[in-house]
C-alpha cells in the first residue's frame, strides 16, 4: 500500500514540477507500470493492496458525487434537458467506441486466421 501511495505522490510532484496538463494519478499509472516492467517492483508486492483499492474504486467517487447536492438550482431548472443531452451523447459515444474497437479486432483476428490457413 505504501509503495502505491509513494508513487502517487511522486506522480503529483512531477506533474506540478513540469507544469503538465496531465494529472498526477495518470503519471502515477505510467510510473508504476514502468517499475513493474523493469522488475523493480514485483506484482506480488502490490497485489493485495491494489486488489483491495480497485475492488472499492467506486467508493472513492461517492463523496465527490455528493457534491451534486450543491447544484440543485441549475438541475431543477434545466435538469431534464441536460440529462437528455448527457445520456444521448454518452450512448452515442459508448456505441461508437465499442463498435469501432470490436470491428478492428474482428478484422485483425480474421486476417490472422486466413494467414494460418495459407501457412497450412
Amino acid at each position: 500500500m505504501l509503495i502505491i501511495i509513494v508513487i502517487y505522490q511522486l506522480g503529483n510532484q512531477i506533474a506540478q514540477f513540469f507544469q503538465l496538463k496531465v494529472p498526477g494519478n495518470v503519471i502515477g499509472i505510467v510510473i508504476l507500470f514502468v517499475l513493474l516492467w523493469m522488475g523493480v517492483i514485483k506484482t506480488e508486492q502490490i497485489e493485495m493492496a491494489a486488489g483491495w483499492l480497485l475492488k472499492h474504486l467506486g467508493f472513492f467517487f461517492i463523496p465527490i458525487s455528493v457534491g451534486l447536492m450543491t447544484l440543485g438550482d441549475i438541475l431543477v431548472n434545466k435538469g431534464l434537458y441536460i440529462l437528455f443531452i448527457l445520456m444521448v451523447s454518452a450512448f452515442i459515444g459508448l456505441l461508437a467506441a465499442g463498435k469501432a474497437t470490436q470491428s478492428v479486432i474482428m478484422k485483425k483476428e480474421k486476417a490472422e486466421v486466413n494467414y494460418h490457413d495459407h501457412a497450412l
Partner: protein, 225 residues
C-alpha cells in the same frame, strides 16, 4: 462530530448498497449512483450542508489517487493484449471521444444552451482531475463541469454494460475500452467488476482519453462555439 457522522454514514450506506447490489442487480443499484442518492437525501434530512460534509469528503477521497495508480497492475498483467490491440484501441478511443463531444454540442446548440454549458459538456467524459484542470484553463464553470463529469460517469456505469450487450459488443477489450473512454473512473469501477481485462482496458482508456481530450479541446472550441 459532523465529520465522524459523515464518514460513518457514507461507509455504511456504501456497504448496504453493495450488499443490495448482490441481491438485485440493475442500473439503479449501481453503487456510485445509489449510494450518492441515499447519502444526499440523508444529509438533507439531518441538516448537514455540503460545506459541513467537505472535511469528511477530503478524508475519504484521499485514497482515490492511489486507487487510480493501482490500475497499473491490471494494465501490466494484460500488457500483451494492449500491444496486440493497440490499433483497435486508438481507433475506438478517437471515434468515441469525437462522437460523444460533437453529439453533445449539437444537442446543446439545438436546445439553445449557453456557451458556459456547452463548454462544460465538451469535457464531460474526462476523469475529474483532468476535466477541472481543462476547465480552469478555458475559464469554464468548474462546479458545473464536475457535475457533468460525474453524471456522465454514472450514466456510463449504470447503462453502459447493458447497452453494449444489447448492441452485441461482447469482446471484453472493446467493452472495457468503450466504458473507460466515455465514463472515465466511475465507469472503470464498474468495468473492474465485470472482469480483469475490462477493468485494465477501461483504466488505460480513461487515461488516454483524458490526454486526447485535453489536447484537442482548445483547438475545436473556437469552431464549435
Amino acid at each position: 462530530m459532523i465529520t465522524l457522522y459523515s464518514v460513518l454514514l457514507t461507509v455504511s450506506v456504501y456497504i448496504f448498497v453493495c450488499f443490495l447490489g448482490k441481491k438485485f442487480s440493475g442500473p439503479f443499484t449501481s453503487p456510485v449512483f445509489l449510494s450518492t442518492a441515499i447519502i444526499i437525501i440523508l444529509l438533507l434530512f439531518s441538516n448537514v450542508s455540503y460545506t459541513d460534509y467537505l472535511p469528511a469528503k477530503n478524508i475519504m477521497t484521499y485514497l482515490l489517487g492511489p486507487a487510480t495508480v493501482a490500475l497499473a497492475l491490471p494494465i501490466y498483467k494484460n500488457r500483451d493484449l494492449m500491444i496486440k490491440y493497440m490499433s483497435a484501441a486508438l481507433m475506438g478511443l478517437s471515434i468515441g471521444t469525437i462522437t460523444t463531444i460533437t453529439s453533445a454540442i449539437i444537442l446543446a446548440k439545438w436546445l439553445h444552451f449557453s456557451n458556459t454549458i456547452i463548454l462544460a459538456l465538451t469535457v464531460k467524459s474526462v476523469t475529474v482531475p483532468v476535466a477541472t484542470e481543462i476547465g480552469r484553463i478555458l475559464k469554464g464553470n468548474i462546479s458545473l463541469i464536475a457535475a457533468f463529469v460525474i453524471m456522465t460517469g454514472m450514466i456510463g456505469a449504470m447503462f453502459g454494460p447493458k447497452l453494449l450487450s444489447l448492441l452485441k459488443i461482447h469482446h471484453p477489450f472493446a467493452r472495457g475500452l468503450s466504458i473507460g473512454t466515455i465514463a472515465h473512473g466511475i465507469g472503470t469501477a464498474e468495468a473492474v467488476k465485470e472482469g480483469e481485462i475490462q477493468g485494465a482496458v477501461a483504466g488505460a482508456a480513461m487515461g488516454i482519453a483524458a490526454v486526447l481530450t485535453s489536447v484537442i479541446i482548445p483547438y475545436i472550441i473556437p469552431f464549435l462555439i
